[in-house]
């Protein structure tokens, strides 16, 4: 029997429902898992805090998209505002707004998890059929370099001139017209987000999805989850309507992501070992902007079609990084460039000629690199703290120098760092200026679109939250299936790892019902 999507903001009375599995969150983890559970004949209820928005509402205007489709109306950041956090909040989660780049989990990361964090049974051979399954459903395939926009060509050309590794990326798109608006909701459903794939798959087979419901607490009685208590939110204001949604499942799954998921567990008092919200990783991003004589028009074209992992392994003492490019739409660019007044106007006036490049630091692999922390504000909102230590500062510095060299090699007239006091580079002779610049929190733009960790999987209940089957160490009918279970960051864009992990987790969760 077909299920339904219920917009909870319009509920006229409280809702109470029993089911086999309640999945909290509709993104890369929750959607893939739920589709597999209904395939197995289970009754699934999904709760999603964001709204149900489809291509009809995607007008490609940043001013509408970010408040509609991103966490905290697009204002999510670390507590000190040093790191801007781009994270989706709607049916489909971050898959509705991500830039479509897909990687299988690197073998070296899986091996690190096994060796250092005691993760058992998750090797490449085990995951390969799950990668293959999600790649088929999501149409993940290599994007031809010939279709790369000029923004990506800078990374491609610059790396090749320097003799550095660079490769085409794979994207989850079908019938993509190369418009460049993945980050504000695909207007033609070319992006194979969970919004148009696994969610409709699951609803078609009977899943009930409540949108606009914030899961406030997971109630545990006699050592087992007894209910999920949610509040209905108004579709426009996102404020509680006063209606409540209570789900009584046999098994509960948190797929709320690496920030809201740990926050939910903390609100529920499920942190007996003090590990919930710890070791939160962000792939912290620094950005360089290059000015070219010819237009780059980086607002058009697939946002990411090439990438470089030339610097992913910089030796045992240093944090590695990888390189990609972002779309350069006016609002994103204006917030990343921290100046004001005339300086800011001058920068923005060159927007069509700007190439932007990003370096994503691979956090969590070195001993002592514990990333950040998710805790709670007094009102229950998640609070994210992420100290930028010396290792990361060194990575930022090396990243900025590497990006400047690529941009210069590709023919940039001038390269600018996005420091609060921007460093301007016109040739390699100027690179020492970048070396000497200050790095760290609130010295330059730092962003993240990859949130990981906070409910780490591992063998030791003292140092992790869930075991290697993603089951909570202490509560047998509670699972966590999303990027929060990563013991470290990945060194690649995380969506496909989450898809595949959720696909692998289907039998484990179903077996617990």
């Amino acid at each position: 029997m077909k299920g339904e999507i219920i917009e909870a903001g319009s509920l006229q009375s409280d809702a109470e429902i029993s089911c086999d599995v309640c999945v909290i969150g509709s993104g890369a983890g929750g959607a893939v898992l739920a589709a597999g559970l209904v395939e197995r004949g289970l009754k699934v209820v999904m709760l999603e805090e964001g709204g149900y928005h489809t291509k009809k509402e995607f007008d490609l205007q940043e001013g509408n998209a970010y408040p509609m489709l991103y966490q905290d109306r697009g204002l999510r950041s670390t507590a000190d505002v040093a790191i801007t956090i781009l994270q989706g909040k709607s049916v489909g989660g971050s898959t509705t707004v991500n830039w479509t780049t897909c990687f299988r989990t690197p073998a070296r990361i899986l091996e690190h998890w096994r060796r250092v964090h005691g993760v058992e049974g998750l090797d490449l051979a085990t995951l390969t059929p799950h990668f293959e399954a999600v790649e088929e459903r999501l149409a993940i395939h290599e994007w031809p370099v010939e279709l790369a926009n000029a923004n990506n060509r800078v990374l491609w050309d610059g790396c090749r001139k320097l003799g550095w590794e660079v490769a085409p990326l794979r994207r989850n798109v079908k019938g993509c017209v190369n418009s460049g608006y993945c980050g504000v909701g695909c207007p033609i459903d070319a992006k194979q987000s969970t919004l148009i794939t696994y969610i409709p798959d699951a609803v078609e087979r009977g899943m009930t999805l409540f949108s606009n419901v914030r899961a406030e607490r997971i109630e545990v009685e006699r050592g087992r989850v007894s209910s999920i208590r949610g509040v209905a939110l108004d579709r426009r204001t996102h404020r509680p309507t006063g209606r409540r949604v209570v789900v009584r499942p046999k098994v509960a799954v948190s797929s709320a992501g690496a920030i809201n998921g740990p926050a939910l567990l903390l609100r529920s008092g499920l942190d007996d070992n003090g590990r919930v919200g710890k070791r939160t990783f962000l792939h912290p991003v620094v950005i360089m902007a290059a000015d070219f004589a010819e237009p780059v028009n980086a607002f058009y074209g697939a946002p990411q079609s090439v990438g470089s992992h030339h610097f992913e392994d910089r030796g045992p003492e240093k944090i590695g990084f990888f390189l990609e490019v972002p779309p350069v739409h006016p609002m994103l660019a204006a917030t990343a460039f921290a100046g004001f007044g005339r300086e800011h106007q001058d920068f923005m006036a060159r927007l069509a000629h700007i190439n932007a490049m990003i370096a994503l630091s691979i956090d969590g692999l070195l001993p002592g690199d514990d990333g950040g922390t998710v805790s709670l504000h007094e009102d229950g909102r998640p609070r994210i703290d992420y100290p930028v230590g010396e290792g990361l500062k060194e990575s930022f510095r090396a990243s900025c120098v590497a990006m400047a060299r690529i941009q210069l090699a590709a023919g940039a007239r001038e390269v600018r760092s996005l420091h609060f006091e921007s460093v301007r580079i016109r040739s390699e002779a100027d690179l020492p200026l970048l070396e000497k610049a200050p790095y760290g929190a609130l010295r330059h733009a730092i962003t993240t679109a990859h949130q990981m960790g906070g409910c780490a999987m591992g063998a030791d209940p003292a140092t992790s939250v869930v075991d290697s089957s993603l089951r909570h160490h202490r509560i047998p009918n509670l699972f966590v299936v999303d990027g929060s279970v990563f013991p470290t960051s990945l060194g690649v864009n995380p969506s496909e790892t989450i898809y595949a992990l959720a696909h692998w987790a289907r039998d484990r969760v179903a077996g617990a019902v």
């Binding site: 205007q61 950041s77 507590a79 994007w143 996102h238 460039f337 005339r342």
Partner: protein, 181 residues
Amino acid sequence: MSISRRTILKYGLGGALLLGAAGTGIALQRTRLRQPARPLRALDQRTFSILAAVADRITPGTHGFPSAATLEVPEKIDDLLSRAEPGLLDEMRQALLLVENGLAGLLFDGRPRPFTALSPEGQDAALRSMKESALPIRRTVYKALQGLCAAVYYASPEIYPLVGYPGPPDFGNLAAVGDRP
């Protein structure tokens, strides 16, 4: 953004001093009020006026660009905040009062007057001082306000031609956009 008591404690004496200055100094100062173009939904007139003054310096109406006020940037931010978590709104109010506070200005910039009472040049100097401050919390306040004002201003379609952005493509003409692999 968070300027909770816990955060202030983390930032130590400087942060505590700032918070104290904001608390005690506020009552002594008079903000130059501005009239919003429409009824406010989240901010009060005082914090709206401070925001409007900041926005007009972040994105001034010069060199062919319209002012933030012309684009009703502060009114749009007020609307956005009315749909954000209440805690976020509280933090934004605190940030604005910190910017306005003359005592904090005296301590850090040598300017005893409220931000809204300063000349445009004085306001620029105050913002620059925050941006370059050795105190992280002052840079936090700068970054929060700069980001919000710049985001709302440059999300305005009126600005697109000024930055060479033709705007989103017309999907009635898909063939013009690109190929379809």
